[in-house]
Amino acid sequence: MNRRDFLKTTIITGAAFALPGSPNPLIKALEAAEKTDLVAAHGLSPAAITKTAIDGLGGIKSFISRGDIVVVKPNIGWDRLPAYAATTNPEVVSTVVALCYAAGAKQVKVFDHSVVDPRRCYKQSGISAAATAAGGIVSFIDERKFRDMKLPGVVLKSWPLYTEAVEADKFINIPIAKTHGLSTLTLGMKNLMGIMGSSRGRIHQRIDGSLVDLAMKVSPTLIILDAVRILTANGPQGGDLADVKLLNTVVAGRDQVAVDAYGATLFGLKGSDIGCVVAGNKAGLGTMDLAKLKIKRINV
């Protein structure tokens, strides 16, 4: 998008908003997009379905403003190649990074607090190379940038969180859908553990409440669930290609609970089977009842 286009859109949008109730087609389109809660895009190109899913929610510009500092948080937790579905699809990540820049973002930062050695995770997952190629600022976690922060929480009152993640203008969560020994599945809310410092293994003692508290605090602008490949067993680290299922799907939404509830259906489960989804629903973080949501399914 060039400057002229930008000005034009801004003026038209401004004019449209200035005339409430007018039958302007643009407003109708905006309202329709507003109403779509979830988009599940299906297709062979991870880049194309990622873009389609975001477009289905109203396009990247409804999330990212000019000059924003954006944090894109994929799952780079493990030392696995992309085919093993233990880490977020690198193409999905690079597409989101590129879209953010296209929407005028000032900086797009990409990082994760890896579980095993970060050098290996960043490299082997392919995310470091892909995100860098798209212009993303890929960095390893710097221990000095964790700060004890208050959470509006029930279980966790405070925890050291990564300042760059919390202080960013916009936070885009890009989890990958996987099984997990305790929380059954690891989806969007579980992926937020990647901004936690300290001995975060302890949160498994009361995982559901902790994740909801964390999700309340971080409150991502947009959640893009990578289900290009999903890991159906031996998660979250995987390691056996037989456990990987190719779904060629990307799910996008604003509601953390809804995205995770939809994610559960990819495994033949329901949102109500996942502890943190139930807890999130109860705490008012979002809606797990998919019947109440407007879901668009698009084939690309």
């Binding site: 030392d79 579980v115 095993v116 050695d117 050098r119 290996r120 995770c121 960043y122 490299k123 082997q124 470091s128 000095r144 997990h180 020994g181 305790l182 001995s199 293994g201 302890r202 498994h204 003692q205 009361r206 995982i207 031996n234 979250p236 680290q237 995987g238 390691g239 056996d240 456990d243």
Partner: protein, 516 residues
């Protein structure tokens, strides 16, 4: 002139050594991209004694043989021009500006005794060379003490500035810090057991230069002694012409203490080819040239010393192997978790030269030097201490940098199968067992494709008398490879509720739990 070329060469070799040392670190791929162990490969002492002790040839011999050939032709050029420890000794020695008031100690025979001792011991399967070999010693000291200390100090300075957070200053310092990180700082601060001890030993070796320049090289270095023997009849000879008036100007500057002023009674085997005598000679009467007929004093240790050292070399073998530690070491020592690809313990010890390369490269810092866990002869050999760092599932770097094949270089599919031990669960400490508290961290992180930790659904009673559903972990003895990731991440700190023992390690026939 030649002296300047020599100093330049020393500088280049030292910088190459340091550069390769810094590159002995993962960048995320499973290879390092540089021949980081090249100085160890070129070390003839390690080469010869390893062949003696392990009764096996090893493939990377061309450089070591090259150094031997170079020594036969030129003399101890390796010591004078190449050896990075020699250069460091030079640099520290340069601090000593004035001629010391006393006569030099002339203990040259000491290093030959040490050499005989090491070679005889290696012939009887005891490999102690690594403790004294200059290259192994230097890499070990740098890896385990010097580099961690310098890194710690640097980080502390930058962190202090960062925490003060003075606007412009912090930007500048962070910029410099970033460059340092890219150029030479480690990815993460290394921590090692015995680092202070090893650092102190190294400081003493450097400090001896203040007593006498190149003290180590002249009197202690067994590699220097070996090369001295090879250089005895080197083709390149030094001659002193008639013009010499025995002014003695060359004596103090001679790096090897070879008594160059003594003309035909000088010690050729101590000459490091530094060319200082040529440089300082006011009469310009020193020449180095090929096929000259010159005389020098013979290398004579005396029969008693030779016989004494041979006997010591033999006696030491049973002596170090009859300690109480040896009784428990080996097959059943639970803490002796060797790196993946390590040979069976006895063979391992005949090869390991304690150079510390594997510990330097270990991606998690988990490989640590032993003190007595592997017996006296195993001092400073590598063991994995999972509490400090686990064994990264898809990493094979330690086997790639091992100079003697004590740790075999494994291909990834083999590495993923090699067991270095087994995990055991301590039910008295484990949260779901002992404390009615959910936790699955060990299962979550377990890296084997089919998880080696399985969860059993269990109903337990908590303190309030109410029933609780949770999952209790079990170790699959067949699948567990003993990598220690579970132990490293177990939330029970201090003494973890899951821990690795060496039991079940692939390399041992005896140290097994299960029927084959």
């Amino acid at each position: 002139m030649i002296r300047k070329i020599r100093i330049a060469a020393q500088g280049i070799f030292l910088l190459t050594f340091l550069w390769l040392f810094v590159q002995t670190e993962s960048k995320g791929a499973d290879d390092l991209g540089y021949p980081v162990k090249i100085f160890l490969d070129a070390d003839p002492l390690i080469f010869i004694t390893t062949i003696f002790s392990s009764h096996a040839w090893y493939d990377t011999f061309s450089l070591a043989v090259g150094v031997i050939v170079a020594t036969i032709i030129l003399g101890r050029v390796f010591c004078g021009w190449v050896c990075p420890l020699g250069t460091l000794n030079n640099m520290v020695g340069a601090l000593q500006k004035r001629r010391p008031p006393r006569a030099p100690l002339s203990l040259h025979w000491l290093k030959y005794c040490l050499l005989i001792f090491l070679i005889v011991a290696s012939l009887f399967s005891l490999q102690l060379t690594g403790i004294f070999d200059p290259i192994a010693l230097l890499i070990r000291s740098f890896s385990l003490a010097v580099y961690p200390a310098v890194s710690y100090a640097t980080k502390a300075v930058f962190d202090t500035i960062f925490n003060f957070n003075i606007p412009v200053v912090v930007n500048a310092s962070e910029f410099i810090y970033m460059i340092f990180k890219k150029l030479w700082l480690p990815f993460q601060q290394p921590f090692f057991l015995q680092s202070a001890f090893l650092g102190l030993l190294f400081l003493i070796i450097l400090g001896l230069n203040l007593l006498e320049k190149r003290f180590w090289c002249k009197y202690l270095c067994p590699l220097g002694a070996l090369l001295g023997v090879f250089s005895r009849f080197a083709f390149l000879q030094r001659s002193v012409s008639e013009g010499c008036n025995s002014c003695g100007a060359c004596t103090f500057d001679c790096q090897g203490g070879a008594a160059p002023a003594l003309k035909e009674k000088w010690h050729h085997t101590e000459c490091l080819l530094c060319m200082n005598c040529d440089d300082v000679c006011p009469q310009d009467s020193v020449r180095f040239g090929f096929f000259q007929k010159t005389q020098s004093a013979p290398l004579d240790l005396g029969k008693r010393r030779v016989v004494g050292m041979i006997l010591s070399g033999i006696t030491i073998v049973p002596l170090v192997r009859i300690t109480g530690i040896n009784k428990q070491a080996g097959a059943s020592e639970p803490k002796l978790i060797r790196p993946p690809g390590a040979l069976e313990e006895k063979q391992f010890l005949t090869r390991c030269v304690k150079c510390g390369e594997c510990m330097k490269v270990c991606i998690t810092n988990g490989l640590q030097p032993t003190l007595l866990e592997a017996g006296l002869e195993g001092i400073w050999s590598p063991i994995l201490i999972p509490r400090i760092g686990y064994c990264e599932y898809r990493c094979t770097l330690c086997g790639q940098v091992c100079p003697t094949g004590a740790i075999r270089k494994l291909e990834l599919p083999e590495k993923e199968k090699v067991k270095i031990g087994l995990a055991m669960i301590d039910k008295g400490r484990c949260l779901p067992y002992a404390h009615a508290t959910p936790c699955i961290v060990c299962q979550e992180v377990c890296p084997t494709p089919a998880k080696a930790i399985w969860l059993e659904k269990a109903k337990v009673m908590n303190g309030n008398g109410s029933e609780l559903n949770l999952k209790q972990p079990h170790v699959d003895l067949e699948l567990c490879i003993g990598c220690g990731l579970c132990e490293a991440k177990c939330p029970i700190l201090g003494q973890p509720a899951i821990y690795i023992t060496s039991n079940g390690e692939s390399r041992s026939k005896d140290n097994q739990l299960l029927l084959p």
